[in-house]
Symmetry: C2
Subunit: 218 residues, 2 copies
Amino acid sequence: MGETARPSLNRDHVLEGAVALADEIGIGALTIRKLATALGTKPMTIYHYVSSKEEIVNGMVERVYSEIEKPSTEGDWLAALRQRCVSARGALNRHRWAAPLMESRTAPGPENLSHHDAVIACLRRGGLSWQMTAHAYAMLDAFIYGFALQEASLPSQAEGEFVEVARDIAADFDAEAYPHLVAFTVEHVFQPGYDFSDTFEFGLDLILETLGASAQAG
Amino acid sequence: MGETARPSLNRDHVLEGAVALADEIGIGALTIRKLATALGTKPMTIYHYVSSKEEIVNGMVERVYSEIEKPSTEGDWLAALRQRCVSARGALNRHRWAAPLMESRTAPGPENLSHHDAVIACLRRGGLSWQMTAHAYAMLDAFIYGFALQEASLPSQAEGEFVEVARDIAADFDAEAYPHLVAFTVEHVFQPGYDFSDTFEFGLDLILETLGASAQAG
DNA sequence: AGGCTACTCGTACTTAGTACGATGCGTCAA
DNA sequence: TTGACGCATCGTACTAAGTACGAGTAGCCT
């Protein structure tokens, strides 16, 4: 009944397919059966390449880490760091299921570890103390992951759709009960040119400027 | 077979039990069957009070919002805002499953909405423009939620246990492959007095100071 | 008393993860 | 060339979980 003894699949294909499918339907809806269908195979075939669904998730997270640009070891350290943060945000935006999973692996893989290593190296190169390195790294990633969490819950980039869905949700807002929220929505969110993602650059630069100044000082 | 026609349960009990159980075993392990057992009832009885598991989750999120102190409408707006952020962090720390769910409700409840309303009111009272209100709010919450995500993946507050688990994980770090990460772990994480949660205050104050200054200016 | 309603829960269907073991094909030693 | 071995595949089936359906029970109201 088997087609060939030559594998028509391998671990990387499985993980690649899993990431692609999760991008489409979300991690919650990702099932082995759907993944098998997407890969043109049967559920149990997948278990020839991974030992459990958990292992698939770990592998997916590794793939996301591999998409995040490591900060350059040369040149302006702050610029390198900034680049890395923008890249991380991009990866988390492409893979909206990822943010809650990135930090919660009990068995971090090499992409994960080497990424951390590179960022720490960058911060130290900037002259930060261990203490400040810890603060800076945690704070930057808190911001990035938290921002990704917020972006993940946004309707879609397609702005037409966004406003549409936003109006549907906002339609339930009671102007009596939530005057400031309603005003905010009307005065800001529904204004032309509104773009939530502007906040990322704003926040990132706010943090980086302060870090730069503190590196200067201490 | 029913005990009485007088309810032994109500919607609030269900949600309260669900939050408590999720605090213990995590949201992923929360099942209707386990919840029923914890409540001393049977699965289908729960569906008399909620229409689906999804509705339970929505209700759980509402409960978490209700635990977050709204910023005072009087006195120092920055202090009020700070208080609210600390309170939010506390709630997310008590309910470690919550962070990824708080922003992703498609049907936000009244606790959720009134909370947003109060925070926006506070920022406006501080003199921020709509644009700055949006930036400030999104940035603060990105930080808070992202920080909560990181804290949620930490072993436990029990510091003895923390160092133990951390050492187990760190034992796999290869000092050749990840020199900076290893150095960071040894020089900072394993030092006495290390406390990850210090970073929260650091980051929060960094953001609030900048906001305060910008409110002053603009 | 008879029935209405609120509440409870037994049963069973569906979807999901995955253990087990069979089946078939390519390879290689003799 | 052939036979046996092992890899890849997948049918079957067990377990867990969400939840639809409908029956049973108890108190209340007329």
